[in-house]
């Protein structure tokens, strides 16, 4: 390591070289230049009584410490149907995890823990999946074949997820673009992870087996914003079916991103669609950075097949143990290993993501594959070095390093060293090739971290425990007849109703259009008022108050009915809604009372206005007629609400204002 190298400077320099800009200043052509391509896999739980392959109830969750029994499993890779091993499977086998499942009898039977073959597929779930597959305009398969998709991380005790394709080749239409759908599949949800530390991973099995649909799009999305819009569209479409669960954890997205010359990378477990733009933006630049690193290494290393790392177990130095992670490692009897990466100078501090560099790519794999928790290494290009240069130089000497090399030091128990060293060497070698096929975990800050090697088609295997299920023409026809209006039409309907566009999201997300249709038809309510009441007023209330346990959107229909029965003006509902939302069981009179409704004789409005005008005049706040108008409206609104519409009130106020104009004041 030569002294003239400044990692912080190199990081800044390479960030510029990559051309990284923040998302808010990026424009569509930023992504066009990168060759940005993105596809989505949208997962959505179905609202069924029972799980997909057993009779356990779906949708009940327990506290992680509330369990009846624990059991332990290990996973081994197996061959695919086509006779090959899957890369992910082999990687996960290397990690040698003890997987513990916490089971609760209420939500788990012998099926979930793989001690009983699957029962017949849940028909309710299958019908819902067909329904949504039809809404996506996919081609419905003739026969459902349950397939096993291997997951060796333990998230499913069998080591595979049972999944089946319901339809292929559909489409959705965004504002300005048609997005093709690859498939809709029906599958079982996985366990919830409780913890994952070193070689011990713990899962809860309550969520395991809940029916889930996965909608997969082609990589037709060309900007991060488009990816978000497609995500929202699919979510709204799912919800408009009325067949899906809502609430935390009921929907998740995996986002596939690639750029020109890059590779498909899957960002897994994006729980909020609003995070998609930032994540995909950063991933695109990470790929760009990795491609530049590839070029750099290709220039430097002419015979990549001969390239190899050198490593040695080294002694703990006095200054090592001032660094807590290393001191802890020493106390546990772990080993300290120094690794030389030939010709990697400037690579470890090469920008990859905001605040991250190539060294984090190695560190991420050390955590997942070698089970070494963060922080798990230090290196010669740390922007905030833990040790002084002298120690670094001493170690470089031990390793026989040259000036153009980079070094890292990691700490691990003896039995994990081999895997760790292999992991480091493998990640470095992958850098010669560009962007590795990876599944990456979404982080809250918009960055991603290594999760596993991206699985391929080789992890699929027919489920020998279940027979194919024919999907008959009559069933499809029956379901097709009951389909809800499709989402494009729903959006057109809102536009037709002249609902302000900022209200769309909330209305579609909660599938309120059918409710609106009923209210408009049955009570002859003005659509703009209703749209704003729901898409703006109710959204605000929901964000600021907690709903009473019996509240549901349908109860709003009954509010309108009661208002009609009492012959009140429907605008009173904006006053009643916050109270009703919190206390849905309150009887109507108490509701009116709490909301501050008073019976008001409309005939005395002109008299009141003239009195108010007098008061306003005395207050001498302003002489402007508009100010007077606003003030009078403000005084009268709460009193008259429900007795007369505000537009009528406004008309009367204006009339009264012009009638009694006092010329002297104007």
């Amino acid at each position: 390591m030569s002294k003239d190298f400044d990692p912080a400077h190199n990081y800044k320099k390479t960030r510029k070289h990559v051309g990284y800009i923040e998302r808010h200043v990026a424009r569509p052509d930023t992504y066009e230049k990168l060759g940005f391509k993105c596809g989505l896999e949208v997962h959505q739980q179905l609202k069924t009584e029972q799980k997909l392959f057993c009779r356990c109830p779906a949708g009940i969750y327990h506290d992680f410490n509330d369990f009846d029994a624990e059991l332990i499993r290990h996973m081994r890779p197996t061959l695919s149907e086509m006779g090959t091993y899957d890369g992910t499977a082999l990687m996960e086998f290397k990690t040698r995890k003890n997987i513990t499942y916490r089971i609760k009898n209420d939500t788990t039977c012998t099926y979930e823990i793989d001690d009983t073959p699957p029962f017949r597929v849940n028909r309710e779930a299958l019908n819902y999946a067909i329904e949504i597959a039809l809404m996506l305009k996919t081609n419905i398969v003739g026969e459902l074949h349950i397939t096993r998709k291997q997951y060796l991380d333990g998230s499913i005790p069998t080591g595979f997820q049972r999944t089946a394709i319901v339809g292929i080749e559909g489409e959705i239409v965004l504002k300005d673009k048609r997005i093709r759908i690859i498939q809709l599949s029906l599958e079982e949800d996985a366990c919830r992870e409780i913890s994952d530390i070193r070689h011990e991973r713990i899962y809860s099995t309550d969520r395991l087996g809940i029916p889930l649909i996965e909608t997969v799009t082609y990589p037709d999305l060309t900007t991060p914003e488009q990816a978000r819009d497609a995500g929202l569209f699919i979510r709204f479409l799912n919800r408009s079916s009325g067949r899906v669960r809502t609430g935390i954890g009921s929907g998740r997205q995996d986002v596939n991103v690639s750029i020109a010359g890059g590779t498909r990378v899957e960002i897994k477990g994006v729980s909020h669609i609003r995070n998609i733009p930032e994540l995909t933006h950063n991933e695109a630049f990470r790929q760009k950075a990795l491609l530049l690193i590839k070029n750099l290494l290709q220039e430097r290393i002419l015979e990549p097949e001969k390239w190899n790392i050198r490593y040695r177990t080294i002694n703990f130095d006095v200054s090592d143990i001032q660094y807590t992670p290393i001191r802890n490692a020493m106390e546990k009897g772990w080993k300290l290993v120094a690794v030389n990466l030939p010709k990697f100078r400037g690579v470890l501090s090469f920008f990859t993501q905001p605040g991250k560099s190539f060294a984090d790519e190695i560190s991420g794999r050390l955590k997942v594959i070698a089970c070494l928790e963060y922080p798990n290494m230090i290196h010669s290009e740390d922007q905030m070095p833990v040790f002084d240069e002298k120690l670094l130089e001493k170690r470089s000497k031990i390793l026989g390093s040259k000036p153009e090399d980079a070094q890292l030091v990691f700490w691990a128990p003896e039995e994990d060293i081999h895997t760790a060293v292999e992991t480091i060497a493998e990640r470095c070698r992958l850098a010669f090739l560009g962007v590795p096929n990876e599944t990456r975990q979404a982080l809250a800050d918009g960055n991603t971290d290594f999760e596993r090697v991206l699985p391929g088609a080789d992890r699929m295997y027919p489920d020998t425990d279940s027979a194919p299920i024919p999907i008959k023409e009559e069933l499809i026809d029956k379901i097709r007849r009951g389909l809800p209006i499709n989402l494009e039409n729903r959006i057109a309907q809102l536009e037709n109703w002249k609902i302000p566009s900022h209200c769309f999201n909330y209305i579609l997300r909660n599938n309120l259009s059918p409710l609106m249709e009923r209210i408009i038809t049955d009570f002859n309510i003005e659509s703009i008022f209703l749209g704003t009441l729901l898409g703006q007023r109710l959204k605000y209330i929901e964000g600021h108050h907690e709903a009473g346990p019996e509240f549901n959107y349908d109860s709003i229909y009954h509010l309108f009915r009661l208002v009609r029965e009492r012959d009140l003006h429907p605008e009173i509902i904006s006053l009643l809604l916050p109270v009703h939302y919190r206390y849905p069981r309150l009887d109507f009179d108490s509701l009116l009372n709490s909301a501050g409704y008073k019976n008001y004789n409309v005939k005395k409005i002109p008299a009141d206005i003239s009195e108010l005008k007098r008061i306003f005049h005395n207050l001498k706040k302003s002489i402007h007629p508009l100010a007077e108008y606003n003030w009078i409206m403000g005084q009268l609104r709460p009193a008259v609400l429900g007795n007369i519409s505000l537009s009528e009130l406004s008309k009367i106020v204006r009339e009264e204002q012009s009638k009694h104009k006092e010329p002297a004041d104007v």
């Binding site: 001690d115 398969v141 008959k472």
Partner: protein, 460 residues
């Protein structure tokens, strides 16, 4: 039928022929439900003839209804060759020599396109490819004797297996492992317990409850436990080695004559009945739970008794059983009958004449209990005494399946009913035990607070 349409028949076959599309071809298919493309897979013979199976490029399989197919064309061909990577099994002079006999079952298996289920696959190289840990335990040799599901194992297979094991022992092997389907594993274990006498080495039967084509299969760990036992343990008995709990934690070694499959699908399905298991086994250790077993010896003085009378039957008694059940056995010239009776070993009165007929004709009838746990006690009630007066012989606490196997084995050796009786009632390898330990019967009742607390603490 031509092999290029594997598994297809009837209308589905006609469609493939009509459009000249072979199995394993990469095909594009137009249907009334849209266009599909992928590789045509073989179809299971038991499935209907109304669908064609397609593997999509993403690895998923789907079926297409032939009534929706408008056109099909081949655009390529890609036949799958399912093969476990085979590697030479490394040998190490310092390690014990273990012989693994294959009989079939799911200990090693692969997909069968004909039935859509799994079929056994087996070779040392394949096993090493799948479970490399085996090389750290022993020097392994394998021999495939049969490739049958365990329900197809029978007397002929028992005798062939016993003889083959005898030869291996004489050749100097340090331990025997037998891969076997689990359904009748305990029948074979009992047969080998009787047929192989005085073995100087461990003989371990092993299977798996989850086929080895699954990542969470118990096959690998069972095999590791079994080879560890065969190579290192000093228990020279015929044993069944299977999971203790359903967790991947330890295996149990069950005496071949006291073990039974007790759950249709659980991993920890095998239980020792009326006794405690011989030992617990992990990757590193064999921990005996009993100490009265036969020890490993250096000599090769094994004796093989490969005999079996096939015309032996077992009757599982139920209330209102009619005597014709027994008459039909007599008519069909059965040579011996084992009854699994109720309670202490009873059947109803209508069977009496038929039982008397057996006595007259010299067909031995042995009584066992369908409670599985406990002894036959035929002096307690009159029924028992009546039955004994009709020549029904109580078989102590022999498990019904074990009594069945033993009677076949005894009748295979002699027609002399007195000698048969001597063989039957003389304990050979804990098939009959002189007493039942207090912890020989443990069936905990889930739901009881203290049991729930116990379950919560230990791994299931």
């Amino acid at each position: 039928m031509s092999d290029i349409f594997k598994g297809y028949r009837g209308s589905a076959l006609d469609i493939l022929k009509k459009f000249k599309v072979r199995v394993w071809s990469d095909a594009v298919i137009d249907t009334t439900r849209g266009k599909f493309s992928g590789i045509i897979l073989p179809r299971s013979e038991n499935d209907d003839d109304q669908h064609i199976v397609l593997k999509l490029s993403n690895g998923y399989n789907i079926g297409l209804d032939i009534n929706t197919i408008e056109n099909m064309r081949e655009i390529g061909y890609r036949e799958a060759h399912y093969k476990i990577p085979e590697k030479d099994f490394p040998t190490d002079k310092g390690k014990a020599k273990v012989k693994l006999f294959g009989t079939g079952g799911t200990i090693a298996s692969r997909l069968d396109y004909r039935t859509g289920a799994v079929i056994p696959a087996f070779s040392p190289g394949e096993l090493y490819g799948a479970v490399p840990e085996l090389a750290e335990i022993c020097n392994l040799e394998t021999e495939k004797l049969f490739a049958v599901f365990s329900e197809n194992m029978g007397p002929r297979e028992y005798m062939k297996l016993a003889t083959a094991i005898g030869k291996e022992i004489e050749k100097g092997v340090d331990g025997i492992v037998i891969g076997h389907g689990t359904d009748t594993l305990h029948h074979t274990a009992a047969a080998l317990s009787f047929m192989i006498r005085n073995s100087p080495v461990p003989i371990v039967l092993v299977g798996s409850q989850r086929s080895s084509d699954r990542p969470s299969s118990d096959a690998a760990l069972n095999l590791i436990h079994a080879t560890t036992t065969a190579a290192r343990s000093d228990i020279a008995e015929v044993m069944v080695c299977m999971f203790g709990p359903t967790s991947d934690e330890y295996g149990l070694l069950h005496q071949g004559t006291r073990v039974r499959k007790m759950h249709s699908s659980y991993r920890s399905t095998f239980r020792t009945i009326g006794d405690v298991p011989l030992a617990m086994v992990t990757r590193n250790e064999i921990k005996p739970l009993r100490h009265d077993y036969n020890r490993r010896r250096k000599d090769r003085q094994v004796e093989i008794f490969p005999f079996f009378e096939e015309k032996v039957a077992m009757l599982y008694y139920y209330p209102n059983m009619l005597p014709d059940m027994i008459y039909s056995l007599i008519e069909n010239e059965y040579k011996g009958i084992v009854i699994a009776g109720t309670g202490l070993g009873h059947v109803n009165k209508p069977l009496y004449p038929a039982l008397r007929k057996c006595q007259e004709l010299g067909i031995p009838v042995y009584m066992t209990v369908q409670t599985l746990w406990g002894y036959v006690h035929m002096f307690v009630y009159d029924t028992g005494r009546d039955l004994m007066s009709m020549g029904v012989i109580p078989a102590e606490n022999m498990l019904p399946e074990v009594a069945y196997v033993k009677l076949g084995w005894a009748l295979g050796q002699t027609k002399d009913l007195q000698k048969v009786k001597e063989i039957m009632l003389k304990p050979i390898c804990r098939d009959i035990t002189p007493k039942e330990p207090y912890n020989g019967y443990l069936v905990y009742q889930g739901g009881i607070p203290e049991v729930e607390e116990f379950i919560r603490k230990v791994h299931k």
